[in-house]
Symmetry: C2
DNA sequence: CATGTTTCGTAGAGCGTTCTCCATTGTTGT
DNA sequence: ACAACAATGGAGAACGCTCTACGAAACATG
């Protein structure tokens, strides 16, 4: 509307300094609320910043100090559990000067590596990695360059902090729930990574192990039946097809992830069987889909918001050097029973 | 492993220059493949970069030149359509020097505004905004500061480019599909924003208008029945409850978004009605949930990948000043018929 | 009143790039 | 042979901020 806005250039620290009749150093101090500035000067500088609508230039700050930017590496935007984590992180950071930025990581080690480098090139102050598939060595090497918190990898490390769901317990909850209902032939669908390495620390491995231990605990070791597939709709589908073709069918299927459970549902549907009358199905992650009426999937709920919140807290502690030892936080999940599980027909 | 890595400091342009026995200016030229570099020097510099494992420092580049970073503002990570767009953007950028970074925007104008500022403070070269809820003025003001492409807002602007799905056509496809099946009482669930402003350019408004026009075209203007609610599971649920309580029930419900359709499914389920025998339900967006066996929702598919790809292309054109006029690309959606729609019972 | 001790404020050198000149070549035209 | 010009490489000033010194007060101490 206005005819001539002569120079819509952004105000810099120099502009503010001129306006307030102080040095740029002084303005910088106010900005970082560093030591050595009188209330009077505080006031003047803040006023000048407000008048000029000044916002510090994060990239420029980064050249010497911090960027106040946290990079979050997220492998798969489609996984409905991850937004929960991100929201937890973002909410925590809202009360600080830091800002989260997401790097779309992709699901391969190469693409995740690329994104991590890209974020470091952009000088993030710290990195939160959600379920990274990187080899441990790469993780630790990165963690020595920049503060890192890893979400969803078990194994402890001296170089980074960790936040995990106790998948061992979670898998146990499912088995107990099904066994309590009277099931004995409880099968499990596991995610078997074709890639090399990182065996025991990934959630899928721990979930399978939890299933195994719980089956033993309940005296069902003879019924242990694990199908290796992938945590995806297609993976769940093929695994279910395989299980349904067994001479003696399982009466319950525990899929290691909700997405896979959906695939199971599809297969069961196609086979003309009914849930839960003919077969009980349980998932893991308690994603929003699980709660949907027509699906109503029994699942394990992890408090993603809480986990994200804690990850952010740990990272800030690390960035601000308030703590020297590495930490691994483990959160206990809970079971949410829905209509996809019931007592087996006798 | 190695006992003494004395200085794991990152290599800078100066290190490369020293190593190759040239000036930093020369290295910079190679980096930007600018004019005035002999093949011999090219070679030497590239070798030095490789040996030192040098990666340019995006933040520092930004001080004078570009950061090669594209900000993508995404309002809701839970919306399963958005990852499609992001993937399209990321794939396009993969073949360039640019890198996408996501800003978790939130669904309010304030939070989106904050994120946009935060990204600009971090000196992104351009911004892709996914379905922003900002007032048009704010959008254009931002667009005058930094190159912008907006996805999912109809209205044309001189200051930014746009990429949209032709929601008018999409809504028409649904009505035609249902009318062809023999339905007459086709109700529509609209997202009515409580916030002020931005009326005609938002997708929801266009979808409702498309519904209206199509109903007229099919001679069903007397049956037009729009319930204002929100595009969410809860919103779809309450709207459906309202519709099912009508003295004369609709035989088909066209929810403006898949999430809302899920809510409808829940309500119908609870009411003890069957789909599609008692009621046909259609959604919009063809999210992954729609395809799931137990849900099998007829929906409108937009090619998110293609839209994201084009948004990235437009943005790069704008950043590199290859084009002066603003552009609005409109993509035609297609209908995906599934089991949630069928002929009404006579 | 000379001497410490705080407290407040500024100068000015970086941080890792880009980019505008400018200097030095070698090549061409006359 | 000499100007004119293209091609190549480098010097050095930005960019917007932080941060280490250091100076100048103001105050307390003996």
């Amino acid at each position: 509307m206005a005819a001539a806005e002569p120079l819509p250039r952004r105000a810099t620290i120099t502009d503010v300094a001129k306006r307030a009749n102080v040095s740029t150093a002084a303005v910088s101090k106010v900005l970082r609320n560093a030591y050595g500035v009188s209330p009077a000067m505080q006031e003047r500088v803040r006023a000048a910043m407000a008048e000029l609508d000044y916002r510090p230039h994060a990239a420029a700050r980064g050249m010497r100090g911090q960027t106040y930017t946290i990079g979050v590496v997220i492998p798969d935007l489609r996984n409905p559990f991850f937004p929960e984590l991100v929201e937890g992180v973002a909410d925590h950071l809202d009360s600080t000067d830091y800002q989260a930025v997401l790097g779309p990581g992709g699901s391969t080690a190469e693409s995740q590596s690329r994104i991590i480098d890209a974020l470091i090139d952009r000088r993030v102050d710290g990195l939160i990695m959600i379920a990274p598939v990187l080899p441990r060595g790469r993780l630790e090497q990165t963690a020595r360059t920049v503060p890192v918190v890893v979400i969803g990898r078990h194994g402890k490390s001296a170089d980074y902090d960790g936040v995990v769901d106790d998948d061992l317990v979670g898998a146990g909850l499912v088995v107990d729930h099904l066994a309590d209902l009277g099931h004995r032939r409880i099968a499990h669908i596991e995610h078997r990574d074709t890639a090399r390495g990182i065996p025991t620390t990934m959630p899928q491995t721990v979930r399978a192990e939890g299933y195994r231990q719980a089956m033993q605990r309940r005296g069902l070791e003879a019924e242990i039946d694990i199908v290796a597939s992938t945590y995806s709709e297609a993976g769940g589908y093929t695994a279910a097809v395989e299980l349904l073709a067994r001479p003696v069918r399982p009466t319950a299927i525990f899929a290691g992830a909700d997405v896979a459970a959906i695939g199971v549902l599809n297969a069961v549907h196609e086979a003309g069987l009914r849930i839960p009358e003919d077969l009980s199905v349980a998932g893991y992650d308690n994603t929003t889909v699980a709660a949907m009426g027509p699906i109503s999937l029994t699942s394990i709920d992890q408090d993603g918001h809480l986990m994200g919140d804690n990850a952010a807290r740990l990272l800030l502690e690390r960035i601000e050097r308030k703590r020297d030892r590495a930490v691994l936080l483990s959160f206990s999940p809970t079971l949410v029973a829905r209509r996809s599980t019931a007592a087996p027909r006798t």
